[in-house]
Structures are given as C-alpha cells and as structure tokens.
C-alpha cells in the first residue's frame, strides 16, 4: 500500500510524483514504456530562434528529481483495471495488483487515425510512431515518406524527421469520406492552418492568418491561387489541394495515388498520379486517452477544443470521485509544459485533499503557473483551448455532461 499511485510517467505524472514525494508521501509511478518521459522522449523543437525544447533532457531532469525524492518507478507495466475499494484504490497491472490511498491518472493522449484504402499495409504508421522510431529508437522509418493530414502535430514532427535527413514527399490531405470530414476539405484545412499562424517559421501564414481571419472570400481566393507545387514548411511541401486516394503495394507500401482537388474539394478527373514512397505517416491529431476513466464513476464531457472527451475535473486536478486525480493531456490536448505544470498542481492537490496537508499558497501558485504556461504556449493544438478550460472550470454546474 502506497499513499499515491500514478499511472503514466510523462511530464504530468513525473512532476506530480516529485511534488507529492517531497511532501513525504510514498509514491509509485507505473508506465508501459521502457523509459520514463512519455511523449517528452520524442520532442525536439525550436521555440524561438536558437531556443530549443529538448524533451529527452527534460524527461531526464524530471526522472532524476523523482528518484532523489524516493519515487518508485515501475516500467514496462500495463494497467488493465482500476477499482475503488472501501478506503483505497486497487490497480491491476501486468506485474500484479497495487493498492494506494490516492490515484492519479496521467495517461496522456492517443493518436487519431484517418482510414483510407491501403492503410493496413506494412509501412503505414501514425506520425507519432515515425517520431518514436526516429527520435527514440534512432531507426529511419524508410527512404522516402509522405504525410497524410495537415495539423499542428504533423508539422512539428515533420521538422524533427527533416532534422534527421529523412526524405519527405510532402503533406497531403486524406481522401474525403465519412470519417475524414473536415480534415479532407481544403477550405476548413486552410482555416485551421491559419490558426497555427503563430508558429514562428510560417511567416506567410501569419500574414495570411491576420488578413484572412474569418473572411471566407479571402480564404477562397487564397485557395484558388495556392501554388500547385505546394508551399514549403521546413523544406517539406504542403499541399492543401491534393489528396491521397489510396496507398498501394503488394506486401508493403510501394506508392500512393494522389489526385488534384478543386478549391471546393471535388476531385479533378484524370489528375491521378502515383508517387513512389516506402512509408506513409498518418496524422489525424490527438485525443485524450480516457479508457481507465471509463472504468470509474467519473463522467466524461465532450469539449472539441480540448481534443474530445475529457474527464470532468476541477482546476486543482481533483475529480468528483474521492481520492481520484487527473493531470496532463488526459484533461485536454496541450503542450508538454502545460502538462508538467498540471502535474505539479495534481501532486500538491493530492497532498492537501487526500492527506490533510495544510493548504498554504503553493496550490494557488501552481495553478497560476498552468495558466501562464497555457497563455505562453508556442505549440497550441486548438485556437480555443482557453475557452474550453473556462467552460470546464467556471461554469461546471451548467455544463451538460455527456
């Protein structure tokens, strides 16, 4: 029996463990992967000129601090069931059952896919898998690849692949069908790209974003004049008027078929061409990984700007279920810095609400830090994150729970 059990050793889980352990709680963290850090392990991006965010270093720093504070870490261990008993939680794992007074679920996010003909062939992977192969395993995913799906995640990871000298044919849209919806429509994709216009290297978009913000006419003009060879972002051409209609190959990826689109998204007959590639990255964005929440009495609520269904929780990371806390991307898709700051809040909050630690101003300071990280985030996954958070934290009583 430990005081606090944490599921997930990413930025949120590790940061929470340090806060709780340094306040004399006994803490165990469980993670499925071989190395602590979660998605930090794949991250490497330039936040401002010559200022780099190195996720591996950050993971290392957090891990060391956790160890110094006596946190126990169980790696390569999967949680398959959680259950609240009378006064404690039971966590069933591939390495046995663990008991704890309090439980923090910091399982992060899962990638969304974009199904299309041929996506089950070997050589097709999620964009995150390509990131793990390259940055964590140091394995080249292939000789030449293509990215399907235009969003913040695929842009950030494409740059990391380019830094490793991996050849990319470009970004293309998925084919337009029932499950790809807005991600396959040139106008809505362009719209979404303009909300990412604060990403430093995309000057043309920053300009375009300012002018075109919510102006449909200008957006349509931009689409009509969009260059046929695409516009390069970090040396990779971005195509908003070309879609991949199928991935081809007998036993593995050999090529993709792409087709030109009109500004309204309809296909131009006879424009099909085959591009030779040996790997394909699909990027449908991220969604909170909530399957363990589904085993509890905690309600989930759909908030689009936070990436889908999120567990109902308070700003101090408590939930309505006694001794159950959440932190990180499970509460909404945001940057690793926000996740880490939320972890600090959750760690302190657990000490106060489950172990009667005196509530000094540490909790309020930690919550203020989350707000600050959110406001200053360089990589924002949705333009209305703050609105989503406000909905969750300020008007909680009035929200229709899904």
């Amino acid at each position: 029996m430990v005081d606090l059990l944490i599921i997930g050793a990413g930025p949120a889980g590790l940061a929470a463990s340090i806060e709780a352990a340094s306040r004399n709680l006994s803490v165990t963290i469980i993670d499925e992967f071989t190395t602590p850090g979660g998605r930090l392990l794949g991250q490497l991006h330039e936040e401002e000129k010559d200022v780099w965010w190195n996720g591996v270093e950050e993971a290392h720093t957090l891990h060391e601090k956790a160890q110094e504070n006596g946190v126990e870490l169980l790696l390569e261990t999967s949680v398959y069931k959680i259950q609240q008993e009378d006064v404690y939680w039971s966590t069933h794992t591939s390495a046995g059952i663990y008991h704890s007074k309090a439980l923090l679920i910091a399982t992060g996010a899962t990638e969304q896919s974009l199904p299309l003909p041929g996506w089950t062939l070997p050589g097709v992977m999620s964009i995150g898998a390509a990131q793990v192969m390259t940055n964590v395993r140091h394995v080249k995913p292939g000789e030449k690849g293509i990215i399907i799906g235009l969003n913040a995640l695929s842009f950030a990871i494409s740059r990391e692949l380019r830094l490793c000298n991996i050849d990319l044919e470009g970004f293309f849209l998925p084919p337009d069908h029932f499950l790809t919806t807005d991600q396959a429509k040139p106008l809505s994709v362009l719209n979404n790209l303009m909300t990412l216009s604060h990403l430093a290297p995309m000057n043309w978009m920053r300009l375009g974003g300012k002018i075109a913000n919510n102006n449909r006419w200008i957006q349509k003009q931009t689409l009509s004049f969009y260059p046929k060879r695409g516009i390069n972002i970090w040396q990779t051409p971005v195509h908003v008027r070309k879609a991949v209609t199928s991935i081809n190959g007998s036993t593995q990826v050999e090529s993709v078929t792409v087709v030109d689109l009109r500004a309204d998204g309809t296909m131009i007959e006879g424009s099909e061409e085959n591009l030779e590639v040996d790997f394909v990255c699909i990027s449908g964005g991220l969604a909170p990984l909530t399957e363990l929440i589904g085993l509890t009495d905690l309600k989930l609520i759909a908030i689009e700007s936070l990436g889908g269904y999120v567990p109902v929780h308070f700003e101090d990371m408590r939930t309505e279920v006694t001794d159950l806390y959440v932190a990180g991307n499970i509460t909404g898709i945001e940057s690793a810095k926000v996740a880490r700051a939320q972890g600090v809040v959750a760690g302190i909050s657990a000490c106060i609400h489950s172990f009667n630690l005196r509530n000094d101003d540490a909790l309020e300071i930690a919550m203020e830090k989350v707000r600050k990280e959110r406001a200053e985030a360089k990589l924002q996954f949705h333009p209305e994150i703050e609105k989503g958070r406000t909905l969750l934290y300020s008007e909680k009583g009035e929200v229709q729970y899904g």
């Binding site: 398959y80 199904p115 589904g294 085993l295």
Partner: protein, 87 residues
Amino acid sequence: MTKDVIVCRCEGTTLEEIATIAAEYQCSAREVKLRTRAGMGYCGGRTCRGFIDYIVSHHSNHQELTLHHRPPVRPIPFALFREVNDE
C-alpha cells in the same frame, strides 16, 4: 470508396459494412459490434472505437450509441487471471 476503407484493422471490417448494419437494424454500437465483429479483435477496439461510435451515431436512431469500456483495457495473458483468482 467506403467498401475499400477498413475501419477495424484486427477484424477487417469496412466502413460500408458498419454503416449498412447500423442503418438496417437502427441499433446501438454494441449491437453493431456483435453483428460485424468490429472492435472485437486483439486490440480491443483501441484504434476503431471512436470511428464505430461516430458511424453508428450518424446512421442509427438508437439512443445508446457509444461503446463502454470494460477491463481488461489492455491485452493480457490468461495466466494473469489465474494469479488474480489464486490470491
């Protein structure tokens, strides 16, 4: 295209099959799952669960549309159940 788009990778169930069954029987996601095996493969629906919910919610008038989570939420060896029962 919909009959060439596989939704459940484990069981090879297509977008067309799921949409057709949902529309024909006007049923829940759970019933669609039992009729087509979509979401019942090795991974336990970890890739396609959201897609199945989405397709069913747009093709069926049934009230209860989403699939529930039940343990184990990860594939585990049968030996683990034995250990749990021995305790």
